[in-house]
């Protein structure tokens, strides 16, 4: 049986196709999100990779910022529940998830069964999100995927504000014009992202294992900065951008199974 999870974020679209609730047979990402062609394209890509059609899906669940605009979905579940489900599936020892996406930062506390105990999200400001890193990468003329390398070479991280993206951008520009090395500025940018996320983590209560997911988890500079701030190791979820889509696909599988069991019990009850 195949189920599908679709996660439409603000800046990327992700789809996971799951076989029998355990085997990921497609996990695709397109770096454009809700309101774009991204959702449709990523859906087609995942189906073609798996060699399946939409009709082959027993159930489809959508999640993420654009979850209510996915026509193909049978149901919507919030990304917090899906993130918890997906990460717990991959790392069952997880107690705290730090999820940094395009425009959201979330800290999610889990119980030992993977249920959500508490969560906190950033306020509306883009500081500390993927968007913040995008802006900085443009100003610094360093690709996002190179930022971790620059950070590793930093000798004296610069101070970058974590309260406002616009303010932080002008701070970075003035540091550049003062000749501060890009390496040090990037380490400062990473610290700034980390301080925002760790603030939410502290509100939740920090407990190991700590797992990071979301697009920003691919930037190891941020991961290192978070680990340093929390003084604890941080595990990066395998394929960290698709964990919420994976969670949605698992939810879809569980719901199909629950319906099957329910129908079976009904029949058994009727035959008694």
């Amino acid at each position: 049986m195949f189920t599908m999870g679709i996660d439409i974020g603000s800046s990327s679209s992700k789809v996971v196709i799951l076989e029998d609730g355990v085997k990921i047979i497609a996990g695709e990402v397109i770096q454009i999100g809700t309101g774009s062609t991204g959702p449709k394209r990523v859906l087609d890509e995942a189906l073609s990779k798996a060699g399946l059609k939409l009709q082959d899906m027993a159930k489809i669940i959508a999640t993420g910022y654009g979850r209510s605009s996915v026509e193909e979905a049978h149901k919507q579940i919030s990304e917090i529940s899906c993130q918890a489900k997906g990460v717990f599936f991959l790392v069952p020892s997880v107690k705290l998830i730090i999820d940094i996406g395009g425009q959201d930062v979330k800290a999610i506390k889990l119980d030992s069964k993977g249920g959500v105990k508490q969560f906190f999200m950033n306020d509306k400001c883009a500081a500390g999100t993927g968007r913040f890193l995008d802006v900085m990468s443009r100003v610094l003329e360093v690709n996002l995927d190179e930022m971790a390398e620059y950070d590793a070479r930093a000798t004296e991280p610069a101070t970058v504000s974590s309260t406002c993206t616009v303010f932080a951008e002008s701070e970075v520009i003035s540091q550049l014009s003062n000749g501060v090395a890009k390496e040090n500025i990037i380490a400062g940018v990473h610290q700034s992202v980390a301080s925002k996320a760790c603030g939410l983590a502290y509100r939740c209560g920090v407990e190991e294992d700590i797992v990071m997911c979301g697009g920003v988890a691919k930037d190891l500079g941020v991961v290192r900065a978070i680990s340093k701030e929390l003084k604890k190791p941080v595990i990066v979820a395998p394929n960290p951008q698709i964990t919420a889509a994976l969670g949605a696909a698992i939810f879809a599988f569980e719901e199909v199974m629950a319906a099957v069991i329910f129908a079976f019990e009904e029949v058994r009850g009727a035959n008694k």
């Binding site: 579940i77 919030s78 917090i80 508490q118 969560f119 999200m121 509306k124």
Partner: protein
């Protein structure tokens, strides 16, 4: 339309259109309205003068002109109040009563941009001393004097004691209403509950009391229905705009009690009995606890909220955090820790009167309902 629906729709239309309520009052009595800024002003003095006390709670607004006077991190409600002042929204008021229990209000009271005269007074924060009662009664005496002058009326002790009784009756009926409404969350959904309570700010209180009393008995005569959603207690300054309450409703939440400064905090205590009305009003402030604006060495807000959760059999607390409200932000970590220790679930949502996008609130509320 049933009587219940008629009363709810009458109160909702008043709460949605305060200007019309003011005009109607003027037509009926020939007297105007006096604005009442948050929080805890002795409205009874205005009532005793025969004028209509009108609550000033800002509104959903995009902010532009107010930016010239307020820093961007001033709380959302006062940003909107300032914007509306600059638009002349409050200029029809005969006067404005302006308590200053927080720093934002203190600063704002010194830069009122409307044309109505403003009467500023102070709540003492060393509240548990007898001197506090004397100080506040004296403040209220000055408020009365200034009002008498501006409105050209005499406000007798007798009239004031009488208004206190009218207000106390309203408080008692409102407490009854919130208890009864908790049994009928299918009928009294979060939006209706809020509108019924908010109408208090724009009606002569005995009229509001009469309607809510009737509503209470009509509700009580109905069988208690099963509620399949989750029951929550709201805490904070206010739970507006209605989109926030809509999101709660859409996700199956019913409000069974509240600790909002705009709602139950105003009527959970009566003004105590006595003969000197100003002293009685002052004493109310001394006896009032569990609010971020009233210094409370015992920090009783958390335990009070937990008692509310227990008494109303609520599933959780929703913290409606007014954006950039420092008194409320300072209280939060204290009661949040108490909730954690007691195993009480809570959700933190931000109240921003300027916003038009509610996606984040939707995600938080939906996740919370999935979590419970």
């Amino acid at each position: 339309m049933s009587r219940i629906e008629t009363i709810i729709s009458e109160l909702s239309s008043i709460s949605n259109n305060p200007r019309k309520a003011m005009e109607d009052y003027k037509k009926e009595t020939g007297k105007g309205s006096v604005g009442v800024m948050p929080y805890y002003a002795p409205e009874e003095i205005i009532h005793a003068a025969g004028f209509l006390p009108v609550g000033i709670w800002g509104g959903q607004k995009s902010i532009s002109k107010a930016r010239a006077y307020l820093p961007p991190f001033a709380c959302s409600i006062m940003q909107s109040v300032m914007e509306m002042q600059l638009e002349g929204v409050y200029d029809d008021l005969e006067a404005v009563l302006f308590p200053v229990p927080c720093d934002t209000l203190k600063c704002l009271s010194q830069k009122w941009k409307g044309t109505s005269p403003v009467i500023v007074f102070t709540h003492p924060q060393n509240r548990k001393l007898e001197a506090a009662n004397k100080f506040l009664a004296e403040e209220y005496r000055l408020v009365r004097e200034k009002l008498e002058k501006i409105l050209s009326v005499q406000i007798s002790d007798e009239a004031l004691n009488n208004s206190i009784e009218i207000y106390n009756e309203n408080r008692q009926v409102m407490r009854e209403f919130t208890d009864i409404a908790a049994n009928y969350p299918n009928i009294i959904d979060p939006i209706k509950r809020h509108a019924i309570i908010k109408a208090r700010f724009f009606m002569e209180k005995s009229k509001h009391t009469a309607l809510v009393k009737e509503l209470n008995s009509a509700l009580k005569s109905l069988p208690v229905e099963a509620f399949t959603g989750k029951k929550v207690v709201l805490t904070g300054i206010m739970a507006e705009p209605n989109e926030v309450l809509d999101i709660l409703k859409d996700n199956g939440f019913g409000v069974v009690a509240d600790d909002l400064a705009q709602e139950s905090r105003l009527f959970r205590n009566d003004v105590p009995s006595g003969t000197d009305p100003l002293y009685r009003l002052a004493k109310w402030w001394q006896e009032f606890d569990g609010c971020s604006l009233a210094t409370d060495a015992k920090k009783s807000r958390g335990p009070m909220l937990m008692d509310m959760v227990k008494a109303s059999k609520a599933d959780a607390v929703v913290v409606c955090m007014m954006k950039f409200c420092d008194p409320e932000e300072f209280d939060y970590p204290i009661y949040y820790r108490q909730f954690e220790e007691a195993g009480i679930k809570s959700l933190f949502i931000e109240i921003d009167l300027e916003t038009t996008s509610f996606e984040q609130t939707k995600t938080r509320v939906q996740s919370f309902s999935e979590m419970l």
